[in-house]
């Protein structure tokens, strides 16, 4: 029983990170109908930036609240800029081309980042995993029974940050002018443009927002796993995408639920069978979902306009 509870807690902790990354996929898919393959790699770059800042600040084991905040903000801001550049120079020129062109571009960017970062010259980190400094010193936050169930402080903190970011996003999408414009663009960007909505700016902002979230998620991931390496973006990103599809791509609450669900399923498979099957779980799950409910849990397959 306590085993179960512990897995539940770990699963939720992992799931929140998937959920944050999934939000970026879902938002970009919502406005552009594009699977931004490079999204996971943006997360990876953000994590390495955070790592760089932490190194500069000289963190090994202890850190101040302001320092942690600085790490998050620096990584998120840098990734927002990166998202902007990516959209402006790679995707915008292709917006009216067949969707396949943008998809290939996205795959190309993803591949360039994840393998470019494995090179070891200049500032590039190289392929070897790095240890991310423990910017939040691990402490048991809650111990139940005879250490049967342990909740760590970083699990609570990352859950709190994740929920906070999601609430902000939800408010942004459904309560602000920007959110309304975003939903209009997502519905039909040509009509939205005719209605005087600055479509280019909305799409750029969506990319920036998604990228910043990814950077935040990346650092949370690093706090959890501590080892970071250039290929992490590919794997975490893909799983997050699977989470987005499970929830119904284009659907904000769906991405969160999908992320949590995937985190839990993975954790239970790893807990009750073997950790080496972890990477196969997500995709097996994806194929099942596509077979049974192709629109995801909360979405539906939209009929194409004829």
């Amino acid at each position: 029983m306590s085993d179960f509870a512990q897995h539940l807690i770990n699963g939720v902790a992992a799931g929140t990170i998937y959920a944050l990354v999934a939000l970026g996929y879902t938002m970009v898919y919502g406005v552009l109908k594009l699977i931004n393959f490079a999204h996971g790699d943006v997360m990876m770059v953000g994590t390495f930036l955070g790592y760089g800042v932490a190194q500069k600040l000289g963190y090994e084991h202890q850190s101040s609240l302001w320092g942690v905040l600085a790490i998050f903000l620096a990584a998120m801001a840098a990734c927002a800029v990166m998202g902007f550049l990516m959209e402006r120079f790679a995707y915008r020129p292709l917006r009216d081309k067949p969707r396949l062109t943008a998809l290939i571009t996205a795959i190309g960017i993803s591949f360039t980042l994840s393998y470019g970062f494995q090179l070891d010259f200049g500032p590039l980190p190289g392929a070897a995993p790095r240890a991310f400094p423990e910017i939040i010193a691990p402490r048991e936050w809650l111990i139940i029974g005879d250490r049967a169930v342990v909740i760590w402080n970083w699990q609570v903190i990352s859950l709190a940050i994740a929920i906070g970011l999601m609430l902000i996003l939800q408010a942004l999408v459904y309560r602000t002018r920007f959110g309304r414009a975003m939903r209009a663009v997502s519905f039909d960007h040509r009509t939205a443009a005719l209605m005087g909505i600055p479509v280019d700016r909305i799409i750029a902002l969506t990319f920036m927002l998604g990228s910043a979230l990814a950077a935040g998620a990346g650092i949370l991931y690093a706090i959890k796993d501590t080892a970071i390496q250039p290929l992490m973006g590919l794997y975490v990103g893909l799983k997050a995408f699977v989470a987005a599809v499970i929830g119904g791509i284009g659907n904000v609450p769906g991405a969160v639920v999908g992320g949590l669900l995937l985190g839990l399923v993975e954790e239970f498979v790893v807990g009750y069978s073997s950790s080496s099957w972890r990477d196969a779980v997500a995709f097996g799950f994806l194929i099942v979902v596509l077979l049974v409910r192709p629109g995801g849990l909360f979405g539906r397959v939209a009929a194409e306009k004829v």
Binding site: K33, A90, G108, F111, W277, L286, I287
Partner: protein, 343 residues
């Protein structure tokens, strides 16, 4: 000549030509190895082009199907190593077994293609990309977790029964299949799906069925390519069939021009030989120490270069080298053309 035989004429010619080549060049180990690598990549590129180019879907997990073929065929050959078919000379028996394992590898990959393709190809959109990528990962995880497949170490000791003839005959077959599909009502339906799925469906084309069949054929040949591969390299391990390999094939198809069979061939040959040539060049130039490190650099830098190549191609020349045309469409007018499938 009986009419039913006419369709097989090119096959007979190919057998004759390849047999001669085998006799002339078959004893040069390095050449055969290089030609085999090139051949396997051509098979992969041409078969992927049937899905990504002609049908307009996007699979990025071709290495996964190659792995299925390689492990199926390799394991079978390994198990049959000491078995000989009674009444046949050893060489012939080996080759028959080799053929059988190739077909088994192709069939296994085709079945996987069906299982993966059916759920994802029912949907419009880009799901196939994700699902095929996921499939590649699942295969990798399965192989790494199962003792029969040698886990991360891989399989070694597979009989090296492949030959120049075998590889290039398969190359010939996949090209013939691709050309005949293009020239038939099926090829036209695939192009129609690529151009406008809604209209194709309204004109009576069972789009899901066609997509799945194209995908199954493509997977079959990826499996055959894997089977061939397993029979001329000393060892197969999960490292040979990673996402990188899949992307390499995608780059070949995109560079050659989505939909152009000859484009895929040309790109596959260039992208296989160029890194090899650079590596050899650096090894020759730089002496032992520096040369080796430079050669490793070539290997490392190849991958980001592929990524950049994809992005630049999409921005500058999305149709690739040849677009949907074939090499002979670009020849001067006075040269007689090959029979064109699409008018």
């Amino acid at each position: 000549m009986p009419a039913w035989l006419r369709g097989l004429v090119p096959v007979l010619i190919a057998i004759a030509v390849l047999a001669v080549l085998q006799l002339l060049l078959g004893h040069l180990p390095f050449f055969v190895y290089l030609a085999s690598i090139v051949g396997v990549n051509v098979i992969l590129a041409v078969s992927l082009n049937i899905v990504n180019g002609m049908t307009g879907q996007f699979s990025i997990g071709h290495a996964g199907f190659m792995a299925v073929g390689a492990y199926t065929a390799g394991k079978l050959s390994f198990l049959l190593k000491d078995v000989a078919i009674a009444g046949l000379p050893a060489v012939v028996s080996d080759q028959v077994q080799f053929l059988g394992t190739l077909l088994a590898g192709g069939a296994a990959a085709a079945i996987c293609g069906f299982i993966v393709g059916l759920p994802s190809l029912r949907l419009r959109g880009d799901y196939l990309a994700i699902v095929t990528l996921g499939f590649g990962e699942i295969i990798r995880v399965i192989v790494q977790n199962m003792e029969v497949f040698g886990r991360a170490l891989g399989l070694s000791g597979i009989p090296q029964t492949s030959s120049l003839f075998a590889v290039w005959f398969c190359v010939f077959l996949v090209v013939l299949v691709a050309r005949r599909i293009v020239g038939s009502t099926h090829g036209r339906s695939l192009w129609a799906i690529r151009e406008d799925e809604v209209a194709a469906e309204a004109m009576g084309v069972n789009t899901t069925g066609y997509k799945v069949r194209a995908f199954v054929i493509s997977s079959f040949f990826a499996g055959v390519a894997g089977g061939l591969f397993a029979h001329f390299v000393p060892i197969i391990n999960p490292g040979s069939f990673t996402f990188v390999k899949s992307i390499e094939v995608v780059v070949m198809v995109v560079l050659g021009g989505l939909g152009s069979t000859t484009g895929a061939i040309v790109a596959a040959v260039i992208l296989t030989l160029l890194p090899e040539a650079l590596r050899t060049l650096f090894l020759q130039l730089g002496g032992l120490g520096a040369g080796v490190s430079l050669a490793q650099k070539v290997d490392q830098i190849r991958m980001p270069v592929y990524g950049i190549l994809l992005v630049v191609l999409m921005l500058v020349r999305p149709q690739g080298l040849f677009g949907t045309r074939e090499v002979w469409d670009l020849l001067p007018r006075w040269i007689p053309r090959a029979r064109k499938g699409l008018t």
